[in-house]
């Protein structure tokens, strides 16, 4: 009874909101929780108004929670996929949904701040090319002079009661969106990292972890039986871990080295073959790019078959790294070509629109190849596995490869944002169709994955990959374009300027004449434009990082000390128990009742 009284005393001291949360988190049955609440409500005397207010706020928060759940996109489908295929396959679909939200936000922002003012109040855009169906594929033709691309945007300042500078709007919308993306990615990466990596022993793929991570949401009988079988295999593997001899280790390292060399050579070969391409405007370049992205990873998986990995995770990681290297180098070569050659060429009227069209074509062809890849990789492979070569069986859903495809597609959209503000709309359509396509392909063609797969850690790796190579690369391209390259003289919102960033400089110069805004100009001149400031910031951040690192080392030492202390307490406990038993044995002629009482008072 005293436990309950202590609990009630503790809960009465809290505010109503905390109290509700604390009661919910008690590990008791529903009846007992109701009991506790009844006792608390009896002991606390609240004014009627206050009670009503608290209830009102609570109802609001619950309604918001329910509403959020009702609006969640694809909730039923996600549950179905999670039930049949497990959480690791579900991470792909969750990732797809998350990226879709980025694109929806980008489209809404771009459309409202850049396109709508132009369409409603801006000058009319004349085009003498009629619409033919081919535009959907090439992005050129009719689309060239529409609001789809950079070239159609004007550099005027609209004056309809309110002044609206289209140049500044274009610049700031793009920049602010990219910065917000960066912040969102940083936060989700940091929280995911903290949850899944820092608190986890990195080397432990231990048996205990395998047992505790049984996926309770699996509902299919076949899936459950298969998981059980695989768990049994993994456990018996762990129980018989054999050590490799030196010779075997050398052999494995040699094979690894060889595979990496060949992979890097392949990637370098692909990248250099692009420098021979002079024409960036044809459909051939996107086709070749997508073909390489489809075919070369097949070689990588071939190498994988010869290599031997100690655990499943390093196998996936090495495959992912190779694929990332391939895609980054191809994209890098293309961007170099656009930045250095296309922008300097005098024959183009509007080089930004050309680059925008090239990116549009890349996005469309990438989508077509994704569909083809799904057809060959999943449908045909299923047909082969079930009808022709029965031993192979249906294919598994390759989460790593598919997520990498998504990240690559999103990078194309991010790079293309500056040159084609409405590209996110194409991306939204693409992701929408892709979701349903992959879902159908998954349920019809694939079998549930064999290994349980470390879904949470894989998710962290994917977000990390999205951020570090791809997002940073995209924002560097956009930054370089805005900072260093000359905009076209005849089209687009930055025509006539030396470089796009001059828009901000001109605005700041204009602000100087306005009273009361001296501080903004001062900040711009002395902080944003000065290099000393960034140097100092970097030094300070490095110092703080070093301090945190030392703190972590100290905490690690503390954890070891505390663990040792627990072990010692356990030893003390068993020592005392042994001593007690010896004492009891050495006094055999004790009254049994008295002896029993004695024992009870000493039981720990």
């Amino acid at each position: 009874m005293t436990d309950e009284q202590n609990l009630v005393k503790e809960l009465v001291g809290m505010s109503t909101l905390e109290q509700t949360r604390a009661i919910r988190e008690l590990t008791m049955s529903f009846e007992e929780k109701k009991n506790i609440r009844w006792i608390i409500n009896g002991t606390k005397a609240l004014a009627v108004v206050q009670k009503w207010l608290c209830q009102f706020f609570r109802r609001c928060s619950y309604t918001m929670r329910s509403a959020r759940q009702a609006l969640e996109l694809w909730h039923g489908i996600m549950k179905e996929i999670g039930g049949k295929f497990g959480t690791s396959v579900l991470t792909y679909f969750l990732f797809l949904k998350w990226l879709l939200l980025f694109n929806i936000f980008s489209f809404v922002v771009n459309f409202s701040f850049i396109t709508v003012p132009l369409l409603v109040y801006g000058p009319n855009i004349t085009s003498n090319v009629s619409f033919r169906g081919l535009e959907l594929l090439t992005g050129a033709g009719y689309f060239t002079h529409t609001v789809m691309y950079y070239g159609a945007y004007s550099n005027e300042t609209l004056r309809h009661g309110v002044e609206y500078n289209l140049q500044l709007a274009y610049f700031f919308t793009i920049v602010v969106y990219m910065v917000l993306c960066g912040i969102a990615l940083t936060f989700s990466m940091a929280s995911s990292f903290k949850k899944n990596f820092v608190l986890v022993d990195p080397a432990s793929t231990s048996a205990w972890q395998l047992l505790c991570s049984w996926d309770f949401s699996l509902t299919g009988e076949k899936t459950v039986t298969q998981r059980k079988n695989n768990l049994r295999e993994s456990l018996s593997e762990k129980a018989q871990q054999k050590l490799l001899t030196l010779r075997e280790k050398l052999k494995h390292s040699g094979i690894h080295l060889g595979s990496w060399l060949v992979s890097t050579a392949l990637v370098a070969g692909c990248a250099s073959s692009f420098s021979l391409q002079q024409e960036a405007e044809t459909l051939l370049v996107p086709f070749v790019v997508s073909l390489m992205n489809l075919v070369i990873p097949l070689f990588f998986s071939l190498f994988n078959k010869f290599e031997h990995y100690s655990n499943n995770r390093s196998q996936i990681y090495s495959q992912v790294v190779r694929n990332v290297l391939l895609r980054m180098s191809i994209l890098g070569v293309l961007c170099y070509h656009w930045m250095n050659e296309v922008s300097q060429r005098e024959s183009f009227l509007c080089w930004e629109s050309m680059v925008g069209q090239a990116l549009y074509r890349l996005v469309i062809v990438d989508f077509l190849f994704l569909m083809l890849g799904s057809f060959f990789g999943e449908f045909l492979r299923n047909v082969i596995g079930t009808k022709l070569h029965r031993r192979l069986g249906p294919p598994e859903f390759d989460v790593a490869r598919n997520v990498l495809d998504l990240i690559y597609a999103q990078t194309l959209a991010w790079i293309g944002l500056y040159f084609s503000p409405l590209l996110p709309s194409i991306q939204i359509l693409k992701f929408f169709i892709l979701f349903y396509l992959k879902k159908v392909s998954l349920t019809q063609n694939c079998q549930p994955p064999c290994r349980t797969g470390r879904a949470a850690q894989m998710q962290t790796i994917f977000i990390f990959l999205l951020f570090i190579p791809f997002y940073v690369g995209a924002i560097s391209i956009v930054g370089y374009t805005a900072w260093s390259l000359n905009p076209s003289q005849n089209c687009g919102p930055f025509r006539g300027l030396d470089r796009s960033f001059s828009v901000v400089e001109l605005w700041m110069a204009g602000l100087q004449t306005l009273p009361g805004s001296g501080w903004a100009v001062w900040i711009f001149e002395n902080i944003i434009k000065s290099e000393i400031f960034y140097f100092l910031i970097t030094l300070i951040i490095l110092a703080i990082t070093y301090v945190f690192y030392q703190l972590i080392q100290g905490r690690k030492m503390l954890i070891d000390l505390l663990k040792q202390r627990i072990v010692n307490e356990g030893k003390d406990k068993s020592f005392l128990l042994d001593k007690l038993q010896n004492l009891q044995k050495s006094r055999p002629k004790k009254d049994t009742k008295h002896g029993r009482v004695c024992y009870q008072t000493f039981s720990l």
Binding site: T20, I23, R24, E25, T27, S29, F30, E31, K33, K34, R37, R58, Y62, S66, Q69, A70, K79, G83, T87, K195, N196, F197, L199, V200, D201, S204, S206, A207, W208, Q209, L211, C212, S213, W214, D215, F216, S217, L218, T219, G220, E221, V224, K228, N229, L231, R232, L235, S236, K238, A239, Q240, R454, A455, A456, Q457, I566, V567, E569, G570, K573
Partner: protein
Amino acid sequence: MGATASQLDTGKLSEYEELTFLTKQEILLAYKRFDKLVPKEEKNRIDYRVRMEDILELPELKFNPFKERICKVFSTSDKKDGSLDFDDFLDFLSAFSESATLEIKSHYAFHIFDFEDDGTLGRQDLKQLVNCLTGKADKTSLTADEMKQLINNILAESDIDKDGTVNLSEFQHVISRSPDFVSSFKIVL
């Protein structure tokens, strides 16, 4: 279960909402599914306890290796027969919901894995756990040597005070280092 057989009154609904981690829609859906398990003649009885055999027919639990343990752990019946009334059913869904905290999940996971109901996970509990997850519950699917090695590894890793069993705090410590646990310990209707 309310005045009419097919509706939950709003007072009870808000009480359920406050004391569990479920949202209103989830509670209503649970009510609908629970109602289907109640035979027609008992529909007007409040606190009717559905038998364990009927609960185990739910598609979410049908092929779960821990289905009997789940029913036994969440049941508050005096006969200890695993029967659940609606409050117990909501308790079960709340512990397995997305918003439940790690402490709640690890607490209930500990009790589900504690086959002998003695408050700690001893060698026999661990052996039964492994059997449950790798094949038939009564037949050992690993060899005796493998099983011994495996249980030794488990105890070496998680038994911090070296008393031969894993108690609740040690279990929670291991779980806190396993990031997949929270996302795997989920059942949604």
